[in-house]
């Protein structure tokens, strides 16, 4: 879609997304049933249903944490797509999009890590556990940080764009491998926690889906806004460069002009000197070498 149309959509998307997320959150805390935890010593009947386990509140984090995590990976995919297109077409607009998508990815990864870490802290009582998902997200965060470190380490803008695109693609290929391997390599020390979030009852599935849609919309709105800001920053760099070119061209022209004047002056002085008596008085100051530059 054209830039104008999607720009118009942004505020609408933002509002809609925020609304969806709000619905998700409210539903989470009201209608969605609590998830089962450890077994109770005795079962009890609550609201006409037999309950045999403790009921967990902490699982509610899942309703926003997982959509955010998925959104971060989706945007990494967007970044990788634009990176590939850039490598093929060399179109700088693609590079801006790739870079912006990586920024959004970073933000959402940080959000994922914060919520995930708090969830871990509650579940396991420790601040960090080398379990597959947390580990993979940690690596993902390091990859995205590495992307920006790489961009800052180079000077030539063409090289920056090219190398960053290559690294973006490499990271995007590496991320699912990382997830797979940390999941499939059995660890003898830490038990691997397989969170089977499949088979959600509708009362839990609907707020999750609403939250997912809402987060994606908000993420897209943020991406568009960030794109505008980044494009403006690039324009500033472009203008600065043109100004520099202008100034250097102007100063070169001025210097060339000055040189011409001195040359003609020297020529007339020499001509005068040939048929003038006051050559000594005139030639000596005129033979002062002009300053360089």
């Amino acid at each position: 879609m054209t830039l104008k149309k999607s720009n118009a959509m942004v505020p609408a998307l933002l509002v809609l997304g925020a609304l969806l997320i709000a619905t998700d959150v409210v539903w989470t805390f009201t209608l969605a049933p609590l998830v089962q935890g450890a077994r109770l010593s005795e079962s009890v009947v609550i609201a006409g249903q037999m309950v045999t386990t403790k009921l967990l509140l902490s699982q509610k984090i899942f309703y926003l944490h997982v959509p955010v995590a998925i959104a971060s990976f989706v945007f990494m995919g967007v970044a990788a797509y634009h990176a590939l297109r850039f490598l093929v077409t060399k179109d700088r607009a693609r590079d801006v999009r790739s870079r912006t998508a990586m920024q959004v990815t970073l933000v959402f990864i940080v959000a994922t890590m914060i919520s995930g870490d708090l969830w871990t802290r509650f579940e396991w009582g420790v601040w960090w556990v080398w379990e597959p998902r947390l580990t993979t997200y940690f690596i993902l965060m390091l990859l995205v940080i590495g992307y920006f470190v790489l961009r800052n380490a180079l000077d030539d803008p063409e090289k920056i764009a090219r190398f960053a695109a290559v690294f973006c693609v490499v990271s995007f290929v590496d991320a699912p491998i990382s997830f797979l391997i940390t999941r499939l390599v059995p660890s003898s020390v830490h038990p691997v926690v397989f969170r089977t979030d499949s088979g959600l009852p509708p009362l839990m599935l609907i707020p999750f889906l609403l939250g997912m849609a809402g987060v994606l919309m908000v993420a897209f709105a943020l991406y568009r806004y960030a794109l505008r800001v980044n494009a403006a920053a690039d324009e500033v760099e472009e203008l600065k460069r043109r100004l520099e070119d202008f100034d250097s061209a102007a100063s070169r022209a001025a210097a060339a002009e000055a040189l011409e004047r001195l040359r003609t002056k020297a020529a007339t002085v020499v001509a005068d000197g040939r048929d003038g008596a006051s050559c000594a008085a005139v030639v000596s100051p005129a033979t002062n070498e002009p300053e360089e530059g």
């Binding site: 490598l87 690596i139 590495g146 470190v149 380490a153 090219r162 290559v166 490499v170 590496d174 003898s188």
Partner: protein, 278 residues
Amino acid sequence: MEEKRESLRRGDVGAQGAVVAPGAAVGAGAIGVPRASDAPAKPSTSKPSAFAQYRALLGKDVRQELRTREMLTSMAVYSLLVLAVYGAALAQVGDKLQVVSFSGGLLWALIVFTSLLGLNRSFSHETESGCLEGILLAPVDRAVVFLAKTTSNLLFLLAVELVTVPLFFVFFLSGAPLSATAPMIVLPLLVGTVGVAGVGTLLSTMAIDTRGKDVLLAILFIPVAFPLLYACVSATGVALAGVEGTFATFWRSLALAGTYDVVMIAAAWGLYEFVLDS
């Protein structure tokens, strides 16, 4: 650019010129750059096959390293230093701790650090002597350059491991009961080093031109190589411990490491041309 090419043929490029130039000239001849002798009249005949180019590039690297042995020795010394650090780190541990249980991890950490050093140094030769530009001027397929570079890196890393791994055993595992399956660590070492060489070649090509290139290589390499590291440590640990019935884990980890190698090297191969300046 033209001057560099000329000087490469004439063999007067910097301090390493005496070592590099004959190799480069031979390599250049094999690659298909017309030599000074037949420059004016006829252009070179058919381009030599990709394999011949590959062999030439690889041969140049190996010959150069064998002549100076600079990189190998510094990497070997570096691994000794890391072992010294390990010694300090584990000195207070005493006899109660089962070193064998985490020796797989220690060994692979050693390999990663040494490899990072080796990957960067293999490229600094090229940039110092202008050799890389000479290669790029020749009509070589970029994928061949990648393969040659990766193979030479692989050979160097394996050579260093031949020194490092026995040293590791001497320093940390002399008293420990080694299982019968310990020799099987050769497999994850091989698979892992292949992956390190492949990914490392791509990333170090990107990192050479930057400021702080060693740190940058580490920042880029470690997250990308993490899954490989994870799988190889698991396989190595299982082999060293040699507990009955755990070998399914060994093969599974090895298979995962192999998958990593295939996927990432394919990706690096495809992306390499974008990383070399044309």
